[in-house]
């Protein structure tokens, strides 16, 4: 767990007055407030840091404590002993330091359920360490989660259980969700501080590219290989769709790169039950290879009939 330079976060120097701190905080809060930066995880993180820096620096007691230990916060207890020795020898007196230890902590960017960093919790004893006179309500942190889906998953509405911060949440994934689409689950983010409301959970759907189908909204695109003879004379071809194989008729004299539309064989239209897109199939006509002498003769004959 690294030391956090709250002055640096607010862009002020150590001699900053209360007014400077307030003004720097307000300026940055207006820039990074989650309500002004929808779906922006980085801004959210930054806002938590700014909030925490303000929580410490705008409170004279916390600021004093923070300034006293500074980068040596982790060795508070050692400082304590050292200071007592110094005191006995006429040195400077240090006050108590809550917490101590400093083992088993995660990176400071991992804000805990309280919305404050481990550094803060360690130094000031968590949200409970707030001074009694200042009971500002804070909305809990918004959580962001990603859910990977295949095209097949998107083809029907289904339920899935997600583990978010140790809690299992069962959500319904509507058929037809788009890649990158975000849904909000209100109140499933971090808990609020001092009675503030809980944050929200944002789930981003990541729909993996499919090797057989390309997608444009609810329509799907695929390519079907067709041999020259079926293309010329007509016949049948079997095509893979998301719901299984289908056999379709091929018209005589089908051209290369021509497209046919299979109505309703695409993806369901998002939140429009009973409506589905189409599957567009482009024919990729395969030229025969390794012709026998006889076949070559026949092609030559054919070419003369043009």
């Amino acid at each position: 767990m690294a030391f956090i330079d709250y002055y640096k976060i607010l862009g002020i120097d150590k001699s900053a007055s209360e007014k400077d701190i307030k003004s720097a905080y307000r300026k940055l809060a207006r820039q990074y407030h989650p309500d002004l930066n929808p779906n922006d995880t980085e801004s959210n993180k930054k806002f938590q840091q700014i909030n925490e820096a303000n929580e410490v620096l705008s409170d004279p007691e916390k600021r004093k404590k923070y300034d006293k230990y500074g980068e040596n916060w982790q060795h508070g207890e050692e400082y304590e002993k050292y200071s007592q020795q110094q005191q006995a020898q006429g040195g400077q007196q240090y006050r108590g330091f809550g917490g101590g230890g400093g083992q088993g902590f995660e990176n400071y960017e991992d804000f805990g359920g309280s919305g404050f960093s481990d550094f803060f919790e360690q130094m000031f004893g968590g949200a409970g360490g707030r001074s009694s006179g200042r009971q500002a309500k804070y909305r809990g942190q918004d959580y962001n989660a990603e859910l990977k889906l295949t095209l097949k998953d998107v083809s029907e509405t289904h339920k899935q259980t997600l583990a978010v911060n140790g809690k299992n949440i069962r959500i319904t994934i509507p058929a037809g969700v788009e890649n990158g689409q975000i849904i909000k689950i209100a109140g499933h983010g971090g808990p609020g501080v001092n009675g503030g409301p809980a944050g929200d959970l944002y789930i981003t759907f990541l729909v993996a590219a499919d090797p057989n189908f390309k997608r444009d909204g609810a329509n799907l695109y695929t390519t079907a290989k067709l041999d020259l003879y079926t293309a010329v004379l007509g016949g049948e071809v079997t095509i893979d769709t998301l719901s299984g194989k289908v056999k379709i008729k091929v018209k005589p004299e089908t051209q290369n790169n021509s497209t046919i539309r299979l109505k309703g064989k695409g993806l369901p239209v998002y939140k429009h039950e009973g409506h589905s897109g189409d599957l567009l199939v482009t024919y990729d006509i395969q030229m025969p290879v390794n012709l026998t002498e006889k076949q070559k003769e026949l092609f030559t004959e054919l070419s003369k009939s043009k």
Binding site: D35, P38, N39, E178, R215, D216
Partner: protein, 98 residues
């Protein structure tokens, strides 16, 4: 009048520490919809999320009504641009090599 799906404005003001005039001004600016009855003023549940966001902007960032109005319009544009970008990206995937 049935109050199902409606939240009393007074209750909202107490919880969010805002004056009733704040809600009234937002309503007059056409930013939210409220229902005034002989029994009191109510906020439809569907407006709650929007109103809570505006209340946070007002109390946490000290943004006035004009600022909230401008932010609301800009956020709508941001959200619509974000959606358009996502749709365009998804359409582009059709032409990307596997």
């Amino acid at each position: 009048m049935a109050t199902k799906g409606l939240i009393e404005a007074k209750e909202f003001c107490t919880y969010h520490h805002v004056e009733y005039t704040f809600i009234d001004s937002l309503s007059q600016a056409g930013l939210i919809e409220i229902r005034a009855t002989s029994e009191g003023t109510y906020i439809p549940e569907t407006e709650l999320q929007k109103l809570e966001r505006m209340a946070r902007l007002h109390t946490e960032l000290e943004i006035n009504l004009a600022g909230i109005e401008a932010i609301t319009h800009l956020l709508r544009r941001v959200e619509s641009i974000q959606e358009e970008t996502r749709n365009l990206r998804n359409r582009l995937r059709r032409y990307e090599e596997d």
